[in-house]
Amino acid sequence: MKVYLDNGTTTQVAKEVLDEMSPYLKEKFGHPLSLYSLGQEAADAVENAQKTIAKTIDAAGEEIVFTSSATEANDLAIRGVAHANRKAGDRIITTKIENPSVLKPCEMLEKEGFKVDYVNVDSQGFVDLKQLQKLINKDTILVSMAHVNDEIGTIEPIEEVSKLLQEQKHKIYFHVNAAASYARVPVDVKQVGIDLLSLSAHKIHGPKGVGALYLREGAKIEPVTYGYISMFPLKPGTENVPAIVGFGKAAELAFDNFEKNVEHMRKLRDKLTDGIEKRVPYVVLHGPRGEKRSPSNVNYSFKYVEGESILLHLDLNGISVATGSACATRKLEPSHVLTAIGVIPEVSHGAIRFTLSRFNTSEEIDYVLNVLPKVIENLRKISPVKPGAF
């Protein structure tokens, strides 16, 4: 049996998405800036995708900018807002557990003289609101954080953060990275008060190569890449029309049955969680339980064994997962997220992340729960580290 449990990394493209995209890879190949009908057809398709996606987050179509990825959307949001508002201030606040696509732009800004503060999180990954509040001052222009953490599934209190920012006397832009939360946890940008929101297509059964940035109308921002003007002044370069069309369709499918999909994933999440805790000894859950956790995320450390070897043994059994173990990343350092929530390296080396989609089934979870305990047992047999060592 083949079981795909790495939907946090990428997802299978839904059939309806592929069908929707196909014409734009065949006869509907026009350029959106061309004035003749073939071009305008492409422009309409892009606008429809904007409208569809905007509706899912309570925004207007014109407030959606298509990028090549959520990574690019994050970079544009952070550096674009920082540069455009430098005269107003030079302080940025983010957290210690952000994705590299947020941390790297912040690092670059620090090299340019901006001051970036990285807020701490507690042992479950929740951001320290008190510390965040203390860090806000007259020079703060931007706060950037994930809605849901991609490694451990923590649902952050973005409503509270937004309230804090709105209480300030000057404008502080609020950027939320929703790559891991879109289609799993609802977000209403108007109601919450969000200025910028990053979205990813290939995490919701859309194609790779397209993401989006929601940008509230009136927000002051500069482009970070330059070139030929497209439909989107902030993102030059010919629009990836087929992928954009696919993104729109993927969003439509995900939100058509939002509650049902979420409930389905949550049931499987809980089944997997219960099963692991019942059948495998010496495990450590990372991130919170229940309502404050993404419905599609499960992350455990299996003590006394190492993540990459677990991953490969599961792969031999047809199961795909992710690991934050140092060996598996090219840097040979343990996951910065697990380190930030206080997990010791010995334990973070044994971490496995399982991420669900609406396509996973109960039978698949049964299969995983059958295979996993044996894999762990066998690896523990050949491990020099015995229970109790840590």
Partner: protein, 106 residues
Amino acid sequence: MKDPTVSVVEGDPQCGDMYQMFLKIENDRIIDAKFLSFGCAANIATGSVTTELAKGTTIDEAEKISIKDIAKELGLPAVKMHCAVLAYKALRKAIKEYREKKSASG
């Protein structure tokens, strides 16, 4: 392994890379070599290759097994070289301990 002649540990779980290596030695010849591993696939593979290379050799021959020998057997990529280094160190540590034990017992 029952009654290993020497058993050494190299690396630690904090690094995510660790071996326990066991050698059975008779008349200065390694008649059996086994290992326990805490680490990735490359870690397990290099442990296996190293013990295989060491089996049947004399202590002097085993001492000549280089990191290159280990890595070449597997075609290790650069990022996994540290596993070969660790296995090599474990083997050398085991040999050294054997020699020390031997001279101590006279």
